[in-house]
Structures are given as C-alpha cells and as structure tokens.
Symmetry: C2
Subunit: 205 residues, 2 copies
C-alpha cells in the first residue's frame, strides 16, 4: 500500500489525494503539519531530503517527491494521461508552467496571507500582477477549450492547475474576473466529485 | 523538420540544443534575443503566448513550450528516458525540482548579475542561500551516484540540471565547494561532447 505524506492545507498535496481517489488507488494518508515544522524533523528528512510534502513511500521503501512527478507516476496508463505522445507533452508543458509561473505567485501569496498572516504590505507586491498574468494565460487557453491542455478529457494538467487556482481567493485573487477559468474550476470539481468552492450560477458548467 | 526558437545564452534553451544534438534529431535553430525583447513581439507571442524561449514548432504548426516538456517529448523512447516507470518518475521528480528550487535561484541570479548587470546589493540576498541549498541537495544525491536520478545512465534529469549548474559561477556560486557536483558536471560534459567549463584535474571523472 502506498503511504502518502501530506498536509491537507497544501494544494500540492491535494493533487495527490484527488488522483488516488479518482483512480481508486489504495493508500494510507499520513498527515504532516508544515506549520508545526513536521517537514523539518530528522524522521521526515530521512523520507524526503527535500524537506517537502507531498512525498509518497512504496512498500519496498522507495520514495518519490514533487507533486507533479507523483501524480504522473500514479496516473500512468489511466485516462488522466493522454495516449498520444504530443498530447502528453502538452500536458507536461502546463504542469511545468504551473510549478514555475503559477504556484510561485498564487500559492506563495496564499501561504503568506493565510498561514503566515502577513499583511498586504509585507508581501512582495509583484505577486499580484504575476498571479494575474498566470490566470490570464489560463483564461486564454480555456476560451474554447474545456480542458487546459486542449484535449477532449481532463488530464493531470487540469488537476495540477486546479489545486491552487481553486484556492486563489485565499491569496487575494478574484477568479470571477476570469470567466473561462471560473467555469473550468466548476467543471473540474464536478469531474472529481469535489464541493463547489465558488458561486457557479453565472457560468456555463 | 522541427524549428527550435531559442536564445543561445539561456540554459533552458541549451537543454533543447543538447538533446537534439545527442539524439541526431534534424532541426532548425531560430535565434531569439531575449534582451532585445524578441520574445515580446506579436509574431513571437503568436507562436508562444507564454512569451518565453525555448519553444518548438512542428511542420504542422503545433507548438510546445517549457524546456523540460520539450526535451521529454524529443527524447521519448530514447536512452535518455528510463524504461522503468518508477525510474522515469524519479527523473521527472528532479526535473520539476529543477524548475522550482534550482532554476529560480541559480539561473535567476546569473541573469540579473550577468545580463541585467545588477550589483550584488541590488539582487535578492535570499538567492545565494537558496542556490547553495540546491547545490547541496545535488551533492547529497551525487555522493555515490554517477547520475542525478540514481540510475546507471545519463537521463533528461542530468541534462535539465546541467544547464544552469554548469553556469552557476556566472551567478556567483562556486561549484568547486560541491565536489560531487563538480565531477558530475565534467561527466555530463564528456557524455554530451561539450567543452569543460571548469577545471577538472582535482575530481574523479
């Protein structure tokens, strides 16, 4: 059985949770509290020297970190990963972009605001325009496409981007300014059986 | 024939160049000068709305961005990608880590220092400890392993991390403090037929 070490408040950890639940993969969830420093203990660093959650551990002791690498491995061969090699590469394109250009603004601002309880003045002012650019880029991709990587079905790219886009309001971003993104959040939530976090009456779902 | 839009000074673009050369993939290189704003023109944004290099374009017009997604697609089925699904996931783990925790310190500091000609005082002081932690993490992985993802042969994870690790001195980092990393750079360079950028007499290669 796969052990998942994760903090439930982390979008990166939620990605892993959604994939194992969507694919009915047997697993054990081990809660690790980032704010209490539980990713910095010797025991945890022995499992993941990167000192980050999520990380998974297999029965034979092998471990795998980085949310997008973990979900790639878990979903290999499933409907969440396109068969076509180019479509698969497009999926990865969005997943790498998520970690470089989206998570680094939207998730970082959420963490500082919500968990470190920083005031807006204490937060890097560049994070707002950077996050808005990321949401704008998604809006552009979702005008005319149901799913972010452009295919006919939900892929890991949607799951990866959903995690912090869905929580963007907690970082001070208003997703209702991006109607295609807004509708896509509800579409993903429906597909994954998640509660709707945002009002959805004004968008086509 | 694949068209590669890249700026030769960019490590992210060099990854793509190395992979097509290593695998003898026919290609055309189109030089795009970031510093002259050539990634912000209407013509370029039509090819890559992310406004970033590298991006590749296929004969049928389809495009693919994000260096690590591009090399994943180019190298699919080659010796640079492990057959084993878990080893492939470990390769991806390092590639996602590269974009999130390594490039964002080492490449960013290099760019600001070398190309934006910022003085050390003008650069975020956190980039030095962050970059040193990244190099330390690589050192830990390379003590006892020839290749970063732990397998018997060079993978895309090595190519991805080589790009900016090899140029780290241009960002003010001293790789000779990390002897296993130092030796690994020379090992990768030899495998890829690249000139040695660092003195290699004191390390085992």
């Amino acid at each position: 059985m796969i052990r998942i070490f994760g903090d439930s408040i982390s979008g990166n950890c939620q990605k892993v949770k959604w994939v194992v639940e969507q694919l009915d993969i047997p697993h054990e969830w081990v809660e690790v509290d980032i704010l209490k420093g539980e990713t910095r203990t010797d025991d945890f660093l022995a499992i993941n020297p990167f000192g980050q959650v999520p990380v998974i551990q297999l029965d034979d002791g092998r471990t795998l970190a980085q949310s997008n690498a973990i979900i790639s491995w878990l979903a290999e061969g499933s409907d969440l990963v396109p068969d076509d090699t180019f479509e698969r590469a497009k999926m990865l394109e969005w997943m790498f972009w998520e970690q470089y250009s989206h998570e680094t603004a939207i998730a970082v601002r959420r963490f500082q605001k919500l968990y470190q309880e920083k005031s807006d003045d204490e937060i890097d002012p560049q994070l707002i325009p950077k996050g808005r650019r990321a949401l704008g880029r998604m809006e552009m991709a979702l005008l005319g496409n149901d799913w972010i990587a452009g295919g006919e079905t939900m892929t890991l790219a949607d799951i990866s981007l959903l995690a912090y886009t869905r929580l963007a309001h907690e970082g001070g971003f208003d997703v209702s300014e991006f109607p295609a993104v807004h509708g896509w959040i509800a579409r993903c939530e429906r597909e994954l059986g998640l509660p709707h976090l945002h009002e959805v009456t004004d968008v086509q779902v």
